[in-house]
Every structure is written in C-alpha cells, then in structure tokens.
Amino acid sequence: MTLETIESEIEANVPGCVLEIVSNPSPSGQHSLRIDPAHAVAIATFLRDAEPLRLDYCSNVTGVDWPGKEISEKVKIKKLVDGVEQEVEEVRKTQTLGHLEVVYHLYSMEKKHGPVILRMSTEDRADRVHLPSLTPVWRSAEFQEREIFDLYGVIFDGHPDLRRILMWDGFQDHPMRRDYVEPDDFEYEPTPHDEVLERARQHRTIMGVQ
C-alpha cells in the first residue's frame, strides 16, 4: 500500500484531519506522513485497528529539533527618494520560531509490512511544546516518549508516567536540542582549534589565566 492510498484511507475515515506527505529525496525513499496533533490519537487508532493496514507495532520513536532561523528576502518597495518616486530593493529579515518534531516508525507484525512513518510537530520550541501521547495506542512508545521528553523537552499529554528517564529529575536542560550548552568541565588538549579553541579560551578566562 503506497503512502498516498494510506493518506486517502485516513482522510476518508478520520474526519477533519490534516495530512501532508513529506517526501524523502534520498535513495531509501522512506517518505513520511505529517499528521496534525489534534487528530493524532484517532489517526493512530485507525492505523492500528483498521484492515488491511493493522500497524500493530511501533518500533521506534525519535525526536528532531528544528531551531528557528533567520530568513532574509529581498522586497521591492516604492519610496520617495529626493522627491522622486523610485523602486528601492530592501532586505527584510524575519525570524522563524522553529519547532520540535516527533517521528514514529510503524510496522505490522500481522501483515508483515512497514514501515509507515508518522511525524508530528509542536508549534514552537519554547512553551507551546505539547503533543498528544501515542502510548495509549502503542505501549512500546512509553519509554521512548519519556526519552524525548527528557532530551528534547516535548510534553506528551496523556502519557501515563511522564518523567525524565536518562537524566535526573532536577535536571533542567534538554541536551539533544541544538542550542544546548554543556557544562564547562572539560580538560582541553594543548592544540585545540576552531570551536574548541574558542571554548578553551573562554575556559581560561573563567579560570583567570590569559
């Protein structure tokens, strides 16, 4: 069954859902389906139970961090320059919020097919990081969703036991995010270079040596 047929099957059976096929240009060609968080549990239940898909096994859940980036675009604006109306090109910069993404890999033990890959995105990376948990649908997602909560900071609503799993409870950072700053407890080699050299210089300034 192709992803397009799966998409139309879901659209026919889960009313109001918003789906988008994310194509993968690499040779493996594992295209995925972006689903909207509001209908995620309904879509997941449909994929698990409905014939002929019966995706009864969630093998892997992982997170992706998409940091916000600056987009600059050239815009042509009409302006009065020295009393004459002229067309001036301006560079307009916008900052995107970025988002966190969760990826589910689904297989069917019964029908021996798969994977079907689902993606879900949060609205941003700061406080709107809630996503519905799919642990009630696939029990195997429980620890992996806890791991994503720990390392990326995605909050899964409806998870039975959402706690940190690798780091301790009082830990406040999310180490797998791109902007994570690790503690300065590294002994530097005598010939660091590039980013490490920059960090080694900062370390020496903190220690009070130039």
Partner: protein, 213 residues
C-alpha cells in the same frame, strides 16, 4: 635485617620478619573487592575472577556484596553523572584500609564519552585512585597486573613516618564529598581536594606555529 641471613635462616626452618612485613603481607593478600560493575569492563572483571584467569591466586577472590566488608573498589565501567553519587557513597561506606582501581578508559577519563553531557570525566574527580588500567575494556591480565601493582604498592608502605598509609594517619580524610544533582551538572562538578583540572597552555594553538616547534 640482612636479606642473605634471612633466607639462610628460612632454609633452616626459622622465619624472621618484622611487624611491618607481617602487617603488609596480611593486607596485600586479602584484598576483597566490592562486588559491583558498571558496564562492559565488569564482564572482564568477572572473567578475571573466574577459573580461567583465577584472581583467587592473589587473595582477591571473595567479591563482597557489601561495602562494609570490602577493601578494594574496582570501578569497572562508565560512571554516568547519575551514578556518580552512589559510587562515591559506596566508597565512603567502605572501612579503612581501602583502595581503588580505576578500570578502563571510561573510569579513568570518560573515555569515548568524554565530550558528552552525561558521563563523569573520570572517577578520580571525587575519590582518590590508587591504580589506573587503560583499555577499552582492559583484558583480565591487565586487571591482574593492576592487582599485583597494588600489592607491590602496599608492600612498600612503611607503617610509621610521613609516608604511612592513609588509615594510619588520624587526620587524613576517609570520606569524601558526595556530589548532588544540580540543575545543569553535578554539584560540585569535582572535589578540589582530590583533583584539579590541568590548565593546558593553548597560547600556540590556532596559529601557524602550532605543532612546529
């Protein structure tokens, strides 16, 4: 006492010794390790204690499951930051005299995980280590070599004077700070009484002269 005379007496069935020799002989031949492992190095430690390598030949066969009965802590494997307080607490609970073997790259320095965020960069940041064994993981022979090195170290220790072992010095510390879980890292991130980060000279780094002199 003259060594030649001593071995001559030995042949006649007379053993002459000093209290220091007797004391150190007893200490070095009954090193009971603490029965705990942290990662793959522990598998090599188990192999070293089993029949093929047989650490029992050196008096270290009795792996004790309680720190109260153990003399030797073999830190065998990766010490994660989440595990570090428990390791230090176990060390504190051991009775003197006590020794530490830091086994494998991870226990020495963090090893392949040194640049990560969750692994302690060497157990010697919190507790004093007597013998380091490099390797990933070290072979059982290496662990036996470390044990023999430790035995030689114990054998050399005088019972009096400034070089006497720690447990005979009344004011030497026997317990060390147990780190607590902080918001970003362990608190403190190292025990400055035990270990301080070496400050390397980076003045030549990043220039064309680097590595040329």
């Amino acid at each position: 006492m003259d060594e030649n005379l001593k071995s001559e007496l030995r042949k006649q069935g007379i053993v002459a010794t000093t209290l220091q020799e007797l004391y150190n002989w007893g200490r070095k031949n009954s090193l009971w390790p603490l029965n705990f492992g942290l990662a793959c190095c522990a598998i090599e430690m188990i192999a070293a204690s089993m029949a093929r390598y047989d650490m029992a030949r050196f008096g270290a066969e009795v792996f004790r499951p309680s720190p109260r009965q153990a003399d030797l802590m073999i830190v065998a494997g990766t010490v994660t930051k989440k595990m570090a307080p428990q390791v230090v607490r176990l060390y504190n609970q051991m009775a003197e005299p006590k020794y530490v073997i830091s086994m494998g790259a991870c226990a020495i320095s963090g090893g392949p995980f040194k640049q990560g965020y969750n692994v302690l960069k060497g157990i010697d940041r919190y507790i004093p280590v007597d013998v380091y064994i490099p390797g990933c993981p070290p072979r059982p022979e290496a662990l036996i070599d470390a044990l023999m090195t430790l035995q030689k170290m114990i054998d050399r220790q005088p019972l009096t004077g400034p070089d006497r072992p720690r447990h005979l010095q009344a004011d030497a510390p026997s317990e060390f700070i147990v780190p607590e879980f902080g918001a970003h890292d362990l608190d403190p991130s190292q025990n400055p009484e035990v270990w301080q980060a070496p400050l390397v000279n980076i003045s030549l780094a990043g220039t064309d002269d680097a590595g040329n002199d």
